[in-house]
């Protein structure tokens, strides 16, 4: 049974990452921006898993676990911020937040 070549795995990770980056830049809804961030983190984790499979080492999966923990913490804080922003601006549009105070 042939293994999946390293190139194809990394290509998939790169495609998912660039899709997430596109979403981050194109979408104006804050929740969609956070979801695109999730896609990008997931793609980074995929790259680690591909590398782990290539060299038969557990370290890649360990790094994936840390990415998972980081994504969970980031999403919790991010969504709490989204809720605060919605209460303050009554809008989830990123462009509504373009002005700084002071």
């Amino acid at each position: 049974m042939a293994e999946v070549p390293l190139r194809d795995g990394l290509l998939l990770a790169a495609m998912l990452f660039s899709l997430g980056l596109t979403g981050l830049l194109v979408r104006r809804n804050l929740i969609m921006v956070l979801m695109s961030l999730e896609v990008m983190l997931n793609a980074a984790g995929l790259a680690f898993i591909v590398a782990a499979a290539r060299w038969h080492q557990a370290d890649g999966q360990v790094m994936f676990l840390f990415i998972l923990a980081m994504a969970a913490a980031e999403v919790a804080v991010g969504l709490a911020l989204v809720r605060q922003i919605y209460e303050r601006f009554r809008s989830l549009d990123v462009d509504a937040l373009s002005a700084m105070k002071g």
Binding site: M1, A2, E3, V4, D8, G9, L12, M15, L16, L19, G20, T22, G23, V26, R27, N29, I31, M32, L34, M35, S36, E38, V39, N42, G45, L46, I49, V50, A52, A53, R54, H56, Q57, A58, D59, G60, Q61, V62, F64, L65, F66, L68, A69, M70, A71, A72, A73, E74, V75, A76, V77, L79, A80, L81, V82, R83, Q84, Y86, E87, L92
Partner: protein, 168 residues
């Protein structure tokens, strides 16, 4: 094994693409869940069953539930029920369901074929655990500190102003 990787990879890319082009956040969430499940199947085909299980439980389970909670919380009001009905019209399910069916069929095929398939290049959970609690122990502690900081931060930011005033 290889074709399973390519099929689920294609499903992941298609679902992510459809997610980015949805106007409605709830519809986008449906596609994002399918995309995460597809990536979990990719992990499985790459010989990382532990990571695949965690992807389903933590990403497609816990983190997506957080998103849905917040989407539901932001839309409180008289029109909430009406809007919810509009979100979940039967036709919306077709796209994500179709992609999910592809993944299910693939999983059935993988599980029915000989279990020895995974042994090529597979890293079993035991090896991951030994690495995690051996040389990476300090990173585990740091991750737990990060999660605690995230918890405290979300708790602090999540307060309503009115609640805060009522407490003071």
């Amino acid at each position: 094994m290889n074709f399973a990787f390519y099929i689920s990879g294609a499903v992941a890319v298609i679902a992510t693409l459809l997610m980015l082009t949805r106007v409605n956040v709830v519809h986008a969430l449906l596609y994002l869940i399918v995309s995460l499940l597809a990536v979990a199947v990719v992990f499985y085909t790459l010989g990382a069953p532990f990571a695949a299980a965690l992807e389903v439980i933590v990403y497609a389970g816990a983190i997506m539930v957080l998103f849905i909670f917040v989407v539901m919380m932001l839309n409180l009001g008289d029109r909430a029920a009406e809007r919810e009905r509009q979100w979940l019209t039967p036709g919306i399910w077709r796209g994500p369901a179709l992609l999910a069916v592809v993944l299910v069929l693939e999983m059935f095929y993988l599980l029915r074929s000989d279990a020895a398939v995974l042994s090529t290049g597979a890293v079993d959970p035991q090896a991951v655990a030994i690495a995690l609690f051996g040389p990476y122990l300090i990173c585990v502690e740091l991750a737990s500190m990060l999660l605690l900081a995230g918890l405290v931060g979300a708790y602090h930011l999540g307060f309503h102003k009115a609640e805060r005033r009522a407490r003071a």
